[in-house]
């Protein structure tokens, strides 16, 4: 596992499709949370991580991208969050984030370690935008319950909604079914 990736444990009782749907939901959740300007726990970044440096705020890039001083959202061009992906799905684990050969790896790692192009990591400035709290993981997994009366139906409905949206869009955009 590299520094710009995370692994979460899930039950081995989930089917392959269920794991795919959960992984996709994780990525979607992190993208939306980041774009809102929030980090782990869906909370605003605090301390040094919650503000942009003066030099960045005054940079041409910052102005050209129309960024706002008070919104720390891992978005300049938007490419980084788009490139975040599922890295591996195994029997009871989902890995997600950025592979080291991704062109966005450096940026993601810089955010997570707080290096931002420098050699030294700075935990105060670090924005570990991939991290999910236990509550967040529980909330995502609550859409795929393993226990309870309607657990199977709820799971199936949520998996079908998500996977059919992915497949349907692929078919619509590219005209044929493609392997993920």
């Amino acid at each position: 596992m590299n520094k710009a990736s995370k692994k979460i444990k899930i039950s081995s009782r989930y089917s392959e499709d269920e794991k795919l749907a959960i992984a996709d939901e994780i990525l979607e959740y992190i993208r939306e949370r980041s774009r809102r300007g929030n980090g782990p726990g869906d909370k605003k970044w605090s301390g040094d991580a919650g503000v942009y440096t003066k030099s960045y705020q005054n940079s041409l890039e910052f102005k050209a991208a129309g960024k706002k001083k008070g919104k720390v959202n891992q978005t300049l061009s938007g490419d980084m969050l788009v490139e975040m992906d599922v890295l591996k799905i195994s029997k009871d684990e989902i890995s997600y984030g950025f592979s080291t050969d991704s062109e966005q790896y450096g940026k993601a790692e810089g955010n997570i370690l707080g290096t931002y192009g420098k050699q030294k990591a700075n935990s105060k400035k670090a924005r570990d935008f991939l991290y999910l709290t236990n509550d967040e993981i529980r909330s995502i997994l609550s859409n795929y319950p393993l226990r309870g009366e309607d657990a199977k139906t709820t799971r199936e409905e949520n998996v079908q909604s998500r996977l059919s949206a992915i497949e349907g869009l692929r078919e619509f955009l590219f005209g044929k079914k493609q392997k993920s």
């Binding site: 050209a64 300049l76 869009l169």
Partner: protein, 168 residues
Amino acid sequence: MAKNKKVDLKKLLGDKFDSAFKKTLSKSNMSTYMGELAETVKVRTRLGGLAEKDQGSKSKIKPLKPSTIKYRQYLKKKGELSGLTTPKKSNLTMTGQLLDALTGKGLRVAIGIISVKSTRRKDRDLKNSDVAKYVSDQGRPFLNLTSKEIKELAQNIKRDLVKLLRKK
């Protein structure tokens, strides 16, 4: 027992899927998606990037000619160069009017457009749409979409489609 089972999710969801798909890609929603896409293209261009072809990777906009740089230095002295560029930065921004005129709208289900409005420019007797055509013809085709921009659009549509399918 069969080794594989084909699961056609579209068949399973049937009409529910089709109606959600049409609703998600309605003319009005397409206007929202196209508006966001136009903003993305604006930012990417202001940052100095373009795609040589649709779904291509992002590359740098070709550098400015020395004569253009000189003219932009003159504009800067006069305080007429946009604050979103520098004399040497090649980002299709001089006064800012061209990219400010970029908009997106939905035309019908699943079809939308991003375009530069035909508004008249303040500095010259030209329309912004004419300038857009000119810069594209000169090797700066900024309206092409990068593969990541298309991916982002697809991710956003999928997010909304899932929300609708779950609601039903």
